[in-house]
């Protein structure tokens, strides 16, 4: 029997992963809780279709070494900077969008069975079984479309706002609709303020959409379609009033919202708690002055009481939202606490939004330090799970971490907040990419400043770069922490991180890094020292590369060049070698040459570095470099030039310092002929430093030509 099945062709093509299962289906299941007789199986434990999957998913933790799973797990494709993270994710979504566009434009290709025999060709048929609504082609509505009320219902149900308006117009406007459809269209328009929302389908776009701060200005479209539909509705039901009032209140058309509410009240139309909540949220726009506003707030609450409406948690957050937006001060804070206390008595626990507004009200940056966060966190930690109920709930964690970092400066509390965010499913409350990044900025800053060093490095290891890429200001903080901790190894790595994160062009940051490297160079292991030297040489090379690119591409805004101090730091780091063949010497020469050519801003903060370099170079056997360094010192007019030139010359000529001094003092004329060109250059430098003029007055007409000849002799 089995072998008689003829496999149709399309099935043979499928790659079948076949799970073989033997079941004891079809046999009676007993109803007792446990196996009653020891033979029949106990009843099945009730579970939803996805419960097992969720249980399995809960066993998987986060992997700090991997990028988010939306990116390809491949070294070439793992994004390492914020810019790349954004562009990679959005590129992938652009591809999905393109696919969706083709699917919608050529819907007929996806609803036909192409392998049908010619006679039956083009029978409408969905390839998918079961058909998934979200994957099916979306209808496109234009002026020629033939639409029915069914289409309007579909567009409203799927929140396709522009399509809904189009269908509405095609159907002939307000007059040709039944009340039910009118109401649902009005609700849709009011909810989105006649603006097409970003579809839920485009996760990345929503995640990365620039979090424009909610503008507290009237964006409600006065006289728009929603208003028209509302005026055309007769009789105006309670739902219609609710929709239009909430829409207006949401988009800050406070006055008209209150007027309409008054109108409804006069007509005896009952309003719901949510309507009152939205009215509470915008009550401040009606009045000026704190006392009047508080009175208005209280009067609305009293009205709710008269209507027999009991407040819910949204009432609380709406009140607090209003209060927190009216400024700060003792009076408002007491009112807020009264509201919270009263709601507690009614058994209403504050939601995350309510806590967010409380934090806004109490923890002002300039204000006195008030620690309400500890109690809030303690309360939240005791809750079984935190559910997101309002859009503003996502503001809580970022604000709480900001308070920990700036207001309270308490690293322990910050850790508790972070632990709370990581608990269970709570990470969904982090909001979007922008908020997430600010959250981590606060966390990393407070940890760098106040946590023990080991803890900081541990946190950085888990966060950077896959979860969070530090911004320049945070990077500065990190570099400072690493410097204090004396982690030369990590500092050397920090340079490559700067390059990868795209901060390498920020001169200030690079200079900070260089001085940090210098400060903790002396007490590092040899291996780390070599690494640091490598990093320093790389910094110089990177700067030159950038300059070349700039010249080639003719950019408008030139990047800032490294300062003289930074260059001298590079010199100090790279010259720490006894080997003449060390490749770093070329870097040193390069750096000194740049100093000499005045390609760096300012003068070195520590000229002693160059004096040491001159001596070292002379010892190793690089007299040209030594001469160059000394000449630069002398030309810049540093006091160290004299001593340095004497010592360098002493090393060069292998004579004690006193003898060299006398030599320089006395035999001015004969020096030119008897000395090696480099030594002569050093002698020149000595005289420039001493007298402000070169050795021979006759040849001193052009110091620049002199230096040119010197540099050319260096090249030989």
């Amino acid at each position: 029997m089995y072998s008689n099945i003829v496999l149709s062709r399309q099935w043979a093509r499928l790659a079948c992963v076949c799970r073989y299962m033997s079941t004891i289906e079809g046999q009676k299941l007993p109803q007792a809780a446990r196996s009653s007789d020891g033979i029949s199986p106990p009843p099945r434990i009730a579970r939803s279709p996805t419960d097992i999957l969720q249980a399995l998913a809960a066993t998987v933790g986060t992997d700090p070494s991997a990028a988010h799973y939306k990116y390809h797990d491949d070294p070439y494709l793992i994004p390492q900077s914020n810019y790349r993270k954004r562009s990679y994710a959005l590129s992938a979504e652009a591809g999905r969008k393109a696919a969706a566009w083709i699917r919608d434009e050529h819907a007929e290709l996806f609803t036909m069975r192409e392998w049908d025999p010619p006679m039956k060709m083009k029978t409408p048929y969905f390839n998918a079984d079961p058909q998934i609504e979200a994957f099916a082609p979306k209808p496109i509505y234009n002026d020629e479309s033939k639409v029915t009320e069914e289409d309007l219902r579909y567009t409203i149900q799927n929140a396709l706002l522009e399509d809904a308006i189009k269908v509405f117009e095609l159907l002939g406007g307000v007059d040709n609709l039944n009340d039910e459809l009118k109401l649902s269209l009005l609700q849709l328009l009011c909810f989105y303020n006649e603006k097409e929302p970003v579809s839920l389908e485009w996760l990345e776009e929503r995640w990365f959409s620039a979090a424009t701060r909610e503008r507290q200005s009237t964006t409600w479209k006065l006289g728009g379609l929603a208003d028209k539909i509302f005026t055309a509705m007769e009789p105006k039901t309670s739902e219609a009033y609710s929709a239009i009032i909430q829409g207006m209140a949401k988009y800050y058309q406070a006055e008209r919202a209150h007027v309409l509410a008054q109108e409804a009240r006069e007509q005896g139309i009952p309003l719901s708690t949510t309507v009152y909540n939205s009215l509470l949220g915008c009550v401040g726009f009606l009045k000026e002055g704190v006392t009047l506003r508080v009175e208005a707030l209280k009067s609305i609450l009293n009205e709710m009481n008269e209507q027999g409406l009991s407040p819910n948690s949204e009432t609380l957050s709406a009140c607090l939202r209003s209060i927190s937006s009216w400024g700060s001060g003792k009076a408002l804070q007491t009112v807020a606490l009264q509201v919270v206390a009263e709601c507690r008595q009614l058994g209403i626990a504050p939601s995350l939004s309510a806590y967010y507004y409380l934090l806004c009200l109490f923890c002002k940056e300039q204000g006195p330090r008030i620690d309400i966060l500890t109690n809030i966190i303690a309360d939240l930690e005791n809750r079984e799970s935190i559910e997101a109920t309002q859009a503003t709930d996502t503001n809580f964690f970022i604000t709480a971490m900001g308070v920990c970092s700036d207001h309270l400066q308490d690293v322990n509390l910050a850790e508790r907040v972070h632990a709370l965010l990581m608990k269970g499913d709570n990470y969904k409350l982090v909001g979007d990419a922008y908020k997430e990044s600010i959250y981590y900025r606060h966390l990393v800053t407070v940890t760098c400043k106040y946590a023990p060093f080991e803890k900081t490095t541990q946190l950085l290891d888990t966060l950077v770069p896959n979860i969070y890429v530090p911004e320049p200001s945070v990077m500065e903080e990190i570099i400072r922490t690493l410097e204090v901790g004396g982690a030369g190894d990590r500092l050397a790595d920090a340079w490559s991180q700067l390059v990868v994160f795209g901060h390498a062009k920020r001169t200030k940051l690079v200079e900070k890094l260089l001085s940090a490297l210098c400060n903790c160079y002396t007490y590092q292991d040899d291996e780390v020292k070599a690494k640091i030297r490598q990093a320093a040489a790389d910094i110089l090379k990177f700067g030159q590369l950038m300059e070349e690119r700039e010249e080639n591409e003719d950019r408008r805004s030139p990047t800032q060049k490294l300062s003289a101090s930074a260059l001298s730091n590079i010199v100090e780091l790279c010259s720490d070698t006894q080997d003449k063949l060390d490749p770093n010497w070329s870097t040193v020469e390069n750096a000194v040459q740049r100093l000499r050519d005045e390609q760096a801003a300012g003068v070195p903060a520590r000229p002693q570095i160059l004096a040491d370099l001159a001596q070292k170079a002379a010892t190793v056997g690089k007299p040209e470099l030594a001469a160059l360094a000394v000449t630069y010192l002398a030309e810049c007019g540093f006091e160290e030039a004299t001593a340095a030139s004497v010592q360098t010359l002493g090393v060069m000529l292998n004579r004690p310092v006193e003898e060299v001094e006398t030599l320089l003092q006395e035999q001015k004329a004969s020096l030119a002929t008897s000395l090696h060109p480099s030594a002569l250059a050093v002698a020149q430098a000595y005289h420039i430093a001493k007298t402000g003029a070169p050795l021979h007055e006759s040849e001193s007409s052009s110091a620049s030509s002199e230096s040119d000849s010197e540099s050319s002799s260096d090249d030989e």
């Binding site: 029997m1 099945i5 790659a15 799970r19 007789d37 029949s40 992997d63």
Partner: protein
């Protein structure tokens, strides 16, 4: 210059290209005149070499593999949570696989198609399996206590239903093969008497496997599994009850209709009884029915004889059956054992 002209001649097809050739190479002979006059110059019409040179090698600024940064105490299940094909940069193991050239090691893990081809079980390491089992334990019910052995299970759940579920990448999650239902039951678990058993076997036909004593009924004629399941149950029930039915015509079965040799119905029994009675000098006037019901157990050595005769007819003639027949007949008749003549 001769090269130049010779190539110029061939015709209009290559004109443009040759012009290019001419324009670029016109100067080169002058420059290198003294040095390599002798060398044969290669005509490079398509300018392949130039193109290759022009293409600047792209800088590959690739971060190191993330496997290098992994801590030794990490949870591997987090790194590799689900089945996927091998990826060298995220597996911190020095794996090698592939064709081994003589005297060399097998190819390493990077750019190794062999490693990507085979399915790996990196997502199912023992700790992961353990934790997953712990996670889904809360959905499991207790195993019935008395079902502690295969025999007990077979005894209490004699009926076995086999179905298959399929999982594949396609817009369709249905697979027509999943409608097939197989029912299996041991014949000995059915309460059947001799007649019913015989009839049942005739009804079932080749769905009965004598070696394992299993009756296997497969149904695939209905489009849905549920229907097929009902159908196999119906088939089993119908066959069972039908086999207990006596139809009128079943009484008409004669000796010729027997599908096997039944000693009681055959001449041999009459002969045996007659012979036995003769030996005892008793009256012999039994009818056919009486002969059939006569208990042969009273006859010494008769059971063995009956057995050997039955097996001779049922199993066919062979050395073994014939020999058995020989010995049993000698015993029955009291003859001496066969002497093997050498």
């Amino acid at each position: 210059m001769s090269v130049f002209i010779r190539h110029y001649n061939p015709g209009s097809v290559y004109n443009a290209k040759i012009w290019r050739f001419a324009s670029t190479t016109a100067e080169t002979p002058k420059l290198t005149n003294g040095e390599d006059d002798e060398e044969f110059r290669v005509l490079d019409i398509l300018k392949k070499r130039d193109k290759l040179q022009r293409r600047a090698p792209r800088k590959a600024d690739v971060p190191p593999d993330r496997a290098e940064k992994m801590r030794t105490d990490q949870k591997w299940g987090d790194v590799w949570p689900g089945p996927k094909s091998f990826h060298p940069s995220s597996v911190p193991l020095p794996i090698r696989q592939g064709y081994v050239p003589k005297g060399q090691a097998p190819p390493g893990k990077k750019a190794n198609a062999e490693l990507m081809k085979i399915p790996n079980f990196l997502h199912l390491t023992p700790p992961v399996i353990k934790s997953q089992c712990e996670a889904i334990k809360k959905f499991c019910t207790e195993w019935p206590k008395l079902l502690n052995s295969e025999e007990a299970i077979e005894k209490h759940y004699p009926l076995e239903i086999i179905t298959s579920d399929y999982c594949h990448a396609s817009p369709v999650i249905r697979n027509p093969l999943s409608r097939i239902v197989i029912l299996r039951i041991k014949l000995s678990d059915l309460k059947l008497d001799k007649h019913a058993r015989d009839k049942f076997l005739r009804l079932v036909g080749d769905r009965y496997d004598g070696q394992t004593d299993l009756v296997t009924i497969t149904a695939d004629r209905c489009p849905v599994r549920r229907q097929n399941l009902d159908y196999v149950n119906y088939l089993l029930t119908a066959c069972y009850h039908e086999s207990w039915n006596y139809e009128d015509w079943e009484g008409d079965k004669t000796l010729q209709d027997m599908e096997y040799y039944d000693f009681d119905m055959n001449q041999s029994k009459r002969n045996l009884v007659n012979w036995h009675l003769l030996c005892l000098n008793e009256e012999n006037n039994f009818s056919d029915e009486e002969i059939k019901l006569y208990d042969v157990a009273s006859i010494p050595n008769a059971t063995e004889y009956i057995e050997s005769v039955s097996s001779l007819f049922n199993d066919g003639e062979s050395d073994a059956t014939l020999k058995k027949y020989d010995t049993s007949v000698r015993k029955l008749l009291g003859l001496p054992d066969k002497k093997i003549v050498t």
